[in-house]
């Protein structure tokens, strides 16, 4: 064997910066062992049996499986229906109160349209579900139940930031 040949290429590689950081790493280990010689445990203990009762305690707080409830009426549909119903009621009352001979009759064209809408949207009008059903077509129901509108993540985030006071509720655990 020729031992004079010193041009032996190493077959192993080392991580970048390994030798540069070696001295600091050894000094850090020495410092740590010096501390461990003084104290190595924190001193905390847990109550007897704590970990055994933990799982049932947490399971009690988990959300129960709930059946999703889908309302028959979306808000937009309800307001639209209420507005239409209010106008119909007003028209019927106006016609029913006389054929223009009653001095107290209020002509429809004298009513501010905005007042009509505001009245329709107010709590002054209360319709039963049966009454509302008369004004809702099948098409309206399909539109409210199966909306094609997709909310972007940005829209959701903006809404939450503007409407939630507790920042902790906004925390999400995505990666």
């Amino acid at each position: 064997m020729n031992l004079d040949n010193k041009n032996i290429e190493p077959n192993f590689g080392v991580p970048e910066g390994y030798f540069e950081g070696f001295e600091a790493a050894v000094q850090a280990r020495i410092a740590e062992e010096e501390l461990r010689a003084l104290v190595s445990t924190a001193g905390f203990i847990a109550p007897d049996g704590y970990f055994d009762q933990l799982e049932p305690s947490i399971k009690q707080q988990l959300p129960e499986k709930q059946t999703k409830v889908i309302s028959l009426f979306g808000k937009r549909t309800l307001y639209a229906v209420a507005s239409v119903a209010a106008v119909v009621v007003l028209v019927v009352n106006l016609i029913g109160n006389g054929n223009g001979n009653n001095e107290n009759t209020l002509a429809l064209d004298q009513v501010d349209p905005q007042l009509l809408v505001a009245y329709a949207n107010s709590d002054a009008i209360a319709f039963t579900d049966a009454e509302l059903m008369d004004f809702v077509s099948e098409e309206d129901l399909e539109t409210s139940l199966f909306s094609e509108q997709q909310l972007s993540d940005e829209s959701i985030e903006t809404y939450l930031l503007e409407n939630l006071d507790d920042i902790d509720l906004i925390t999400t655990y995505e990666e």
Binding site: A28, A31, T41, I45, F51, L54, K59, D168, E175
Partner: protein, 180 residues
């Protein structure tokens, strides 16, 4: 021990979620408890935070994309929950976060769930004087022997910075314990 990817799949599937969650709790409850406990000091507070952590994990598991390890993801949740807990306590008491910790450490000697001797009490006092992130680094490395790569995922800090922070923390604490 069940493979992590398999556990995640079972956690996401409604029919196996409950059983998988029990496995998850059995596997990680003690590790997470001690991690939280070293941040909040009192057992009762650690219990609250730990339960909040697991409930958040249960609710958020569908958001877990598998880009990090499940356990580093859970550690991150636990850390955030503990910090949130401390912040809320500070707001309620109208004092700073550091003061909340100082108060908790001051109560340790009388705490029935702290059996440390004088030097262990001094150790906790010294740790509480470090910046919050440095406390986390020290506790996770010194007591949990966590790998720097995992710590980096949990804390969002580079390995190099973590190593420096840990080394500085060790030196500060050693000096503190040797003083007096």
């Amino acid at each position: 021990m069940i493979a992590e990817s398999s556990l995640v799949d079972q956690l996401k599937a409604p029919e196996t979620r409950e059983a998988a969650f029990s496995t998850l709790m059995s596997t990680y409850k003690e590790r997470l408890y001690w991690h939280i406990r070293k941040m909040v000091y009192s057992h009762d507070d650690a219990d609250d935070v730990l339960q909040n952590t697991f409930i958040k994990v249960y609710r958020s598991i569908e958001n877990f994309k598998g880009e990090s390890k499940l356990y580093t993801w859970m550690y991150r949740i636990a850390t955030n929950e503990a910090i949130t807990f401390i912040n809320k306590k500070a707001r309620r008491m109208e004092i700073g976060n550091e003061e909340v910790q100082q108060l908790a450490v001051a109560n340790l000697a009388a705490d029935p769930y702290f059996e440390g001797n004088e030097i262990q009490l001094k150790l906790q006092e010294a740790i509480a004087k470090l910046p919050q992130k440095q406390q986390l680094v020290f506790n996770m490395k010194y007591f949990d022997d966590m790998k720097y790569d995992d710590m980096s995922e949990i804390l969002g800090t580079s390995v190099g910075a973590l190593k420096s922070s840990y080394h500085i923390a060790v030196k500060k604490i050693t000096a503190e314990l040797k003083s007096d």
